[in-house]
């Protein structure tokens, strides 16, 4: 029982991080019907942005709660700018030339960012400890400050996202663009701006995820985005790509599966199980948990 609860705590906080990244995949897919493979690199770059901001603002030398909040907010703004720049420079010029071209460009952008980061910063750069780490043991289950932080930040961001998407005029326009881009344009909705905004939102969440990630795993590396990015992509597909609640549900499910497998079976099997889960769910429900399966019109 203790093991189960322990893995539940671990799984929820892992799933929360996946959820923050998965939302970026699912929102961009919702508006452009394109998998933004460079999204995992936005997450990775968030780690480097956080490092640079912490270092040059002096927060790394004299850590404080206010300092950490500053680094987090600045990181989220920096990843938002990166996401918007990627869309503007790499995807928008290709929007009319087909999804396959955009997909290839996304892969190219991902490689460019990975290798660019490798060239500039190198591998395995240590990240300074910004927050003192405390672990409470409650009835044999250890809960760290980081678990609490990850979980509370994710919940706050989910509520904020829901508020923006469902209860603001910009969110409404976003949903309209994702329902029918052509019709939205013909109603005078500035589609380009709304798409850029979608990238900004997804990248802000990825920036938050990388901040939470580096507080827990104090190293930044050009390859650090690959696995979490892939898992988050799997989570988005599991939940039904394009669906916001689906991405969150898929991410939590995936996080729990991974930690349960490492707790009860073996940690070497965790990734295999994650992808096995993807295959099984797609066989049973091709559109994912929350997706609507729309048969192709012939």
């Amino acid at each position: 029982m203790t093991l189960f609860v322990q893995q539940l705590v671990n799984g929820l906080s892992l799933g929360a991080i996946y959820a923050l990244i998965a939302l970026g995949y699912t929102m961009v897919y919702g508006t452009l019907q394109m998998i933004n493979f460079a999204h995992s690199e936005v997450f990775m770059m968030g780690g480097f942005f956080a490092l640079l901001i912490a270092k040059y603002s002096g927060v790394a030398d004299a850590p404080s709660v206010a300092g950490v909040i500053f680094v987090a907010v600045a990181t989220m703004l920096a990843t938002a700018a990166l996401g918007v720049a990627i869309e503007r420079l790499a995807y928008r010029p290709l929007r009319k030339s087909g999804r396959l071209n955009m997909l290839i460009t996304a892969i190219g952008m991902s490689l460019l960012l990975q290798n660019g980061a490798l060239l500039v910063w190198g591998t395995n750069v240590p990240f300074p400890e910004l927050l003192p780490r405390t672990t409470w043991v409650i009835a044999g289950v250890s809960v760290s400050t980081n678990n609490v932080l990850v979980f509370s930040v994710t919940i706050v961001l989910m509520i904020a996202l829901h508020h923006v998407v469902e209860r603001t005029q910009v969110g409404r326009a976003m949903r309209a663009v994702s329902a029918s881009r052509d019709a939205a344009a013909l109603m005078g909705i500035p589609v380009d701006r709304i798409i850029a905004f979608t990238f900004a939102l997804g990248s802000i969440l990825a920036g938050a995820a990388s901040m939470l990630w580096v507080l827990d795993n104090p190293r930044v590396d050009p390859a650090m985005g690959i696995m979490p990015g892939l898992k988050a992509f799997v989570a988005a597909v599991l939940g039904g790509i394009g669906s916001i609640p689906g991405a969150v549900a898929g991410a939590i499910l995936l996080g729990l599966c991974e930690t349960m497998v490492s707790g009860y079976v073996s940690s070497t099997w965790r990734d295999a199980v994650a992808f096995l889960l993807l295959i099984v769910i797609l066989l049973v429900r091709p559109a994912g948990l929350f997706g609507k399966f729309v048969p192709e019109k012939v």
Partner: protein
């Protein structure tokens, strides 16, 4: 002239889908564009709304060329449209479909929206009230909070017109608004269209297949065949034009 097509044409590869098209729609007109299947009517709409850019000629709105502007800018210049195959925003409610079309008239920033600033609150209240009024006008008041994709077919067509009007257009393009309707529904819709023109002081250009109804409400009609205009005039002139009868109605169907 509100809308002028001046020798406008477009080719797709070797196919001249529309050629040398002259069209003059006066302010406040209720103008019909008819023609057999494949005559290029929807292509004309796509040219006017900036989906296609004409390969030749010019298109002017109130004397200013709108060539090369793209759909968003054309919509912002005051042209709204509906679609032959209905394209509502599924996943949005009926009310949201209308309020989202007012996006360009709302000026509050995202920050104001997130924190419910006074300007956002005022704009939203106004947009909702205006949208509810439009919906009531089109007999959709009772379904305002349903999802748009839950509506039956006839109501979807009405919602598309309401949504287009919500952008506050100067020119409204209706692409086969009565498609799939029975004669009495089509008749009712045509009255609604004329009433819309009078009430909202909007100029309407419509494509329609239901000949009797077009003849009944349009003040002027242009006939398109194989991408070219073969006739233009009042319904009475069109009805008696031998070229139209031959090309459009065929030999065995009398007008």
């Amino acid at each position: 002239m509100l809308l002028e097509l001046d020798k406008a044409g477009i080719r797709f590869g070797g196919l001249r889908a529309v050629q040398d098209l002259e069209l003059k729609v006066a302010q406040g007109a209720l103008y019909g564009l008819i023609g057999p299947n494949g005559a290029g009517k929807t292509t004309v709409f796509n040219l006017i709304t900036g989906i296609y850019s004409p390969s030749e000629g010019d298109i002017r709105l109130s004397g200013a060329s709108i060539i090369g502007k793209g759909p968003v800018a054309v919509a912002r210049a005051g042209i709204a449209r509906t679609f032959q195959n209905i394209r509502l925003f599924g996943g949005l409610s009926v009310l949201e479909n209308v309020t989202v079309a007012m996006f360009r008239h709302q000026h509050a920033t995202l920050l104001e929206a997130v924190f419910r600033g006074p300007r956002y609150a005022r704009e939203e209240t106004e947009a909702t009230a205006a949208a509810m009024e439009l919906l009531a006008t089109f007999g959709l008041g009772h379904v305002a909070h349903l999802g748009a994709d839950e509506l039956p077919y006839g109501l979807r067509r009405r919602l598309e017109i309401a949504r287009a009007l919500a952008t506050r257009p100067r020119l409204l393009l209706l692409d086969e608004p009565a498609a799939g309707m029975n004669p009495s529904e089509a008749h009712e819709l045509m009255h609604l269209i004329r009433w819309t023109r009078d009430t909202f002081a909007v100029t309407i250009l419509l494509i329609e297949h239901h000949m009797p109804v077009v003849m009944g409400i349009c003040e002027r009609i242009a006939v398109l065949d194989h991408g070219a205009r073969i006739a233009e005039g009042t319904p009475a002139e069109i009805r008696n034009d031998p070229v139209v009868i031959e090309a459009y109605l065929g030999a065995e169907v009398p007008a």
